[in-house]
Amino acid sequence: MEQLGIQPVQLLAQILNFALLVFLLNKVLYKPIVKALEERKKKIAEGLVYSDKMKAELEKSDKKGQEVISNARDEAKKIFDEAKKSSRKMEAETLEKAQKEAAGIIEKGRKEVVAQRAEMEKQLKDETVNIAGRIVEKLLGDVLDSRGHEAIINRKIKEAVKQVRQ
């Protein structure tokens, strides 16, 4: 051993060196670094869990939002439909009313026209009778007495009225 340079004192010194190094490195290097690494690992794991949770929450809230939107859309559609319906009803009602009114006016007008016509006819008849009477008087005054006169006139008038009526 001596030939190879192994000296007990130096061997012991190196063993002590190593023991000291183990002790000090453990204190100065391994413990802090391993601790820091573990803490970081933990933090990353926590971060991942948190991000997963947040993702799920976001999805949930997204879904909720979508639901709210779709609900609102449905409601709006409902309201719109109702409004459309009621407006259509109103329109129909108004139209009906207007039609009724128009029909009334027309009826009234027709009645008036009929009444006027009847009156006019009556007037015309009276006038015609009058004129005819006078003509007959003028033409046949000498020939006929007043009784026969009147009978002829009345007969003629009836004929005339018949004609007119036709």
Binding site: Q3, L4, G5, I6, Q7, V9, Q10, L11, L12, A13, Q14, I15, N17, F18, A19, L20, L21, V22, L24, L25, N26, V28, L29, Y30, P32, I33, V34, K35, A36, L37, R40, K43
Partner: protein
Amino acid sequence: MHISIRAENIFNLGNIIPVSNSLLTTWLVMVILLVVSFLATRKIKKIPGTLQTVFEVLVDGIYSLFEGILGDKIKIHFPIVATIFMFVLFNNWAGLIPGVGTIGFFEREKKEARQVAPYVQASNTTNNETSSAKFVPIFRAGTADLNTTTALGLIAVIYIQYAGIKALGLTYFKKFFNFSNPINAFVGMLELILEFAKIISFYFRLFGNVFAGEVLLTVIAFLIPIIAPLPFIGLELFVGFIQALVFSLLTTVFLSLAVVKAEH
């Protein structure tokens, strides 16, 4: 050109402890490693700086590598095996720093003769001056000294026994002393021899690799001083890393074998 197998003593500490150049280098490496580690972890930040990142990568790399072998027991054994790795790695690399092995002084032939230093001498036979004075470098890679590697081997093997006994109690010794039948008894004997062989294989492998690297670099630098040593320095960096890995990995593997019950 002198290449000495043994580390030379350069001074005596209090006239009791002879300090060799490799011991001195080991101390320096330790101090630098500890100071840099301290600086790196003084203020641990959530978002690490450069130094902290480097050490985190180093420690985490070793940790996860050994975790694959030891499993949950990594927490107990990590300081030892990681320190083996760091100690061997940085001591190996210390030998490659320019100046280590080249800065030194000449010792008189007289002194040398008294010490009877066994060193491999490749001296120039035509030049008497080189043989009369021995060159002693101030620095020498810690792992290029058998004292260091033997210390490491002893620590590793003793720690493996300690871990085995701690994990299994007295049943740990069943591996070595099993007299249930002749075959088991013989296997147990072999196992016992193997434990001692481990020490030798540990320290000679490391010493052999590092010392051979130093010899190689010295010879190459002697033959062609410029550029030629560069690829060899790169090679030695790699070898230094591999040896650190081999030493610590073997320790880890033996540890993992020692803490489980023998199945034979």
